[in-house]
């Protein structure tokens, strides 16, 4: 029976019950709540013969963010290089596979072949799939199948690891461990509600009531739809040009013992049931699909299987794909991939708009943005009158809000302080988080590093900034459920600090790293291993530095979702930009290496991100004349390029 409950009614009921999450924010209060059946027909196989064939070529003619996949589509004639924005006209000679780039100055060997064979485990020289998972003793393969596709598509389209929680979907649907379903049920739910990370709500087999963290809305990958494919040729072309597919088949009893080679079903062993998996490749020479199972790594080839074409009904059933443009990663996924004044938001048709906030005349802050399709920069708005230096920006789990912290002009007796402001995505308006931080006699004298960290959910805000006496001060805001949301000083450390910077990064092990500049013109790392521990002075590197650096943790070196990527740092030295990197931040033996010097007339690096554009590094520099310039580095050949000069901090 269709629901007649309106979204506004349900919102009120949820608020009254102090519910930990709300419903799909896309729904207006007057909209009827959509229903997603979890049983009935959706527990049956969807026969391919019952699904009309769709024209897949429009999907292949879309400009993907992934430069390797873009080249693959160009090579097949779906796109023409000359029709692309100039930043995307960078031909790549595709190869089949290669070693994962572990070093930030190592050019990927990769390619992508395609055509007769595709393997998304390692394609274009990069890994694209998270580690093999285990559904355990629940009949939840249909959820693992659908979530596996979404997870892979975020990695492929936005080139970032984004571990998703099958438990979020399974328990959000309210099904028990023993309940079956089909991938469309899981896709439909994700389309309405997104899919959160395991830290928000994990996958467990205990049938616990669904209680995700309070900030779920800000840590979900959004999904705007999926496509049902019935034709095998289309399915192979989709895997080649878009990504993996969700699929289901009949499990014969010989399947449990598969360990290598191409699986050919033996029906005489009897039927055990149905099963859903992710198809992550194919090989025509083997006449087989490459299947990713959810039975842990002890099964098959470390969790994978070559599954013969047409075997066990796999090609009699429809398969399901997610177009790359239909996934929109959350800010929590991307929290280490940006720092300083530049941020890649989920806004825009392809969810890859850039947002930039810089100082403007009158001590205001001006918001620029770059459209993710046309790649043109525009001014959004200018506001405020107390900004002394360009802010440090992040996107938070508070419903994907943009939030920034900046050093203020003198506030009278208290001197220069820190100011926190945020853009409320729900209302579309800016809010004032207030002044905080050090004050006279040791007020703020430097750029603030500002992040949302791992402690609590929503995660606490962490700020490190230089004060007038040459020390660094660490401030934090308690954000957890019921938290006071007030700022407090946590520590004072270091001495003779010349410059603080937008260089605060939290490691996977919760430790904090921050880079500052010494009076001798070197950069120095400070490290706090855990909450409550003392900050430690670590290595120094570089020389001649007289402007604040910007540091991120990128995807180079992140061989899978459990391994933290390299640190990437850009800093202006002698009117140019130096790029430095450090392998494995959590490895104390790793050292800093300078990989390139580029640009001219550069006064300061304002922002650095590793973007959705295929692991590219993107830099915004403040030039000596007050204008701004965009630089980027292609991941395919590690070449730096100068982009448009735009805007101004002085006019």
């Amino acid at each position: 029976m269709p629901s007649t409950l309106k979204a506004g009614d349900l919102r009120q009921l949820l608020a009254k019950a102090n519910a930990k999450w709300t419903i799909d924010e896309k729904l207006k209060d007057t909209d009827t709540i959509p229903t997603h059946p979890t049983g009935g027909d959706l527990t049956k196989f969807v026969k391919a013969s019952a699904v009309p064939r769709v024209d897949v070529t429009p999907f292949f003619k879309t400009v993907t963010s992934n430069p390797y996949l873009l080249q693959r589509r160009i090579d097949q004639g779906f796109l023409n290089l000359k029709d692309l924005p100039i930043e995307l006209r960078h031909p790549i000679v595709l190869k089949e596979s290669g070693p994962t780039p572990l070093k930030s100055n190592l050019q990927p060997m990769g390619g992508g072949g395609g055509g007769s064979a595709v393997d998304w485990r390692n394609r274009f020289g990069w890994p694209w799939l998270t580690k093999i998972k285990d559904q355990g003793g629940c009949e939840s393969c249909w959820v693992f199948s659908a979530v596996g596709v979404v997870e892979a598509m975020v990695r492929i389209e936005h080139t970032i690891w984004s571990l998703r929680s099958e438990g979020d979907v399974h328990d959000g649907l309210g099904v028990s461990c023993a309940q079956t379903g089909g991938p469309p049920t899981a896709f439909n739910w994700m389309q309405a509600n997104g899919v959160a990370d395991p830290g928000c709500w994990p996958y467990e087999q205990s049938n616990l009531p669904y209680k995700p963290t309070a900030d779920r809305d800000g840590r979900t990958v959004k999904l705007s739809g999926y496509t049902t494919l019935s034709n095998v040729d289309d399915q192979k072309a989709w895997i080649d040009n878009v990504g993996p597919l969700s699929a289901c088949f009949t499990v014969y009893n010989d399947f449990f013992g598969y360990s290598s080679g191409v699986y050919t079903a033996n029906p005489s062993t009897g039927v055990a049931g149905g099963h859903c998996i992710v198809i992550v490749g194919y090989d025509d020479s083997l006449q087989a699909w490459l299947v990713r199972n959810s039975w842990n790594t002890g099964w098959g080839m470390a969790g994978y299987c070559w599954f013969g074409y047409g075997q066990a009904d796999i090609d009699n059933n429809a398969k399901y794909g997610v177009p790359g443009a239909n996934v929109n990663p959350d800010p929590w996924t991307k929290r280490r991939a940006h720092n300083g004044s530049l941020y890649e938001s989920g806004d825009g048709q392809l969810h890859r708009n850039f947002e930039l906030w810089t100082l403007a005349p009158g001590n205001a802050i001006r918001h620029y943005w770059r459209d993710g399709v046309s790649l043109q920069w525009s001014v959004a708005e200018t506001q405020g009158n107390d900004c002394y230096a360009s802010p440090c920006v992040t996107g938070t789990t508070y419903n994907r809000n943009f939030e920034y912290v900046y050093e203020t002009t003198s506030q009278g007796a208290t001197g220069c302080r820190l100011h926190h402001r945020y853009f409320d995505q729900a209302s579309g308006t800016w809010g004032d988080g207030g002044l905080f931080g050090p004050q006279e006699p040791d007020d703020v004298e430097g750029l603030a590093g500002f992040i949302q960290g791992n402690y609590n959910a929503p995660g606490n805000f962490e700020v490190v900034v230089r004060t007038g006496n040459g020390t660094l001060k660490h401030w934090w805001r308690a954000n957890g459920p019921g938290g006071p949301m007030t700022w407090s000083q946590s520590a004072q450390f270091g001495s003779d600090i010349q410059l603080s910077a937008a260089s605060l990064v939290q490691r996977f092990d919760d430790g904090l790293d921050v880079i500052c500049v010494t009076p001798a013109g070197a950069m120095q790392r400070y490290f706090r291993p855990s909450a409550g521990a003392a900050w430690q002075a670590c290595e120094t590197f570089a020389r001649g530095v007289s402007s604040p650096p910007v540091m991120i943790a990128g995807q180079y070196g992140a061989t899978d979702e459990t391994v933290m990527g390299n640190y990437e740092l850009c800093v202006a030295v002698d009117n140019a930009i130096q790029h430095w990197w450090k392998e494995s931040p959590e490895n104390p033996a790793s050292t800093w290496t300078m990989s390139a010097t580029f640009g001219e007339n550069v006064k300061q690096v304002l922002g650095l991100i590793q973007s959705s554009f295929g692991f590219d590094l993107e830099v915004i520099a403040l030039l000596n004349n007050g204008t701004l310039q965009h630089y980027w580095r292609y991941s395919s050949d590690l070449s730096w390029h100068a982009g448009p000069i735009f805007g101004s901090t002085v006019s």
């Binding site: 009949e139 009893n253 039927v271 149905g274 099963h275 002890g298």
Partner: protein
């Protein structure tokens, strides 16, 4: 533990909940085959409706062979994870008398 008494040649069927979609199978542990014979009755593709992501029950036929007593243990496990404890277990005591 359930106990059954059979006469030689008499059959008894045991139906156990399947978990094949998760990789688990009920497996019969060693027992006294002089007393009873245990066979799984396999599902033919043509005879069953396969649930899309669900598991069919496993059915075992016990046939009494000769007088005596034995117990038959069934463990539901993944054959590729032999070191792990069974997900579920079932044991039945079988007495065969004339």
């Amino acid at each position: 533990m359930e106990t059954i008494t059979l006469k030689p040649g008499q059959e008894h069927r045991i139906t156990l909940p399947g978990l094949g979609s998760a990789g688990y199978r009920w497996m019969v542990e060693p027992y006294d085959q002089n007393v009873v014979k245990v066979e799984e009755i396999l599902h033919s593709r043509q005879e069953v409706t396969v649930p899309i992501a669900g598991s069919l029950q496993q059915v075992f036929r016990l046939t009494a062979v000769a007088p005596g007593h034995t117990s038959v243990s069934f463990n539901q496990r993944r054959r590729f994870e032999p070191e792990k404890k069974p997900h579920a277990s079932y044991e039945i005591s079988v007495a065969v008398t004339v």
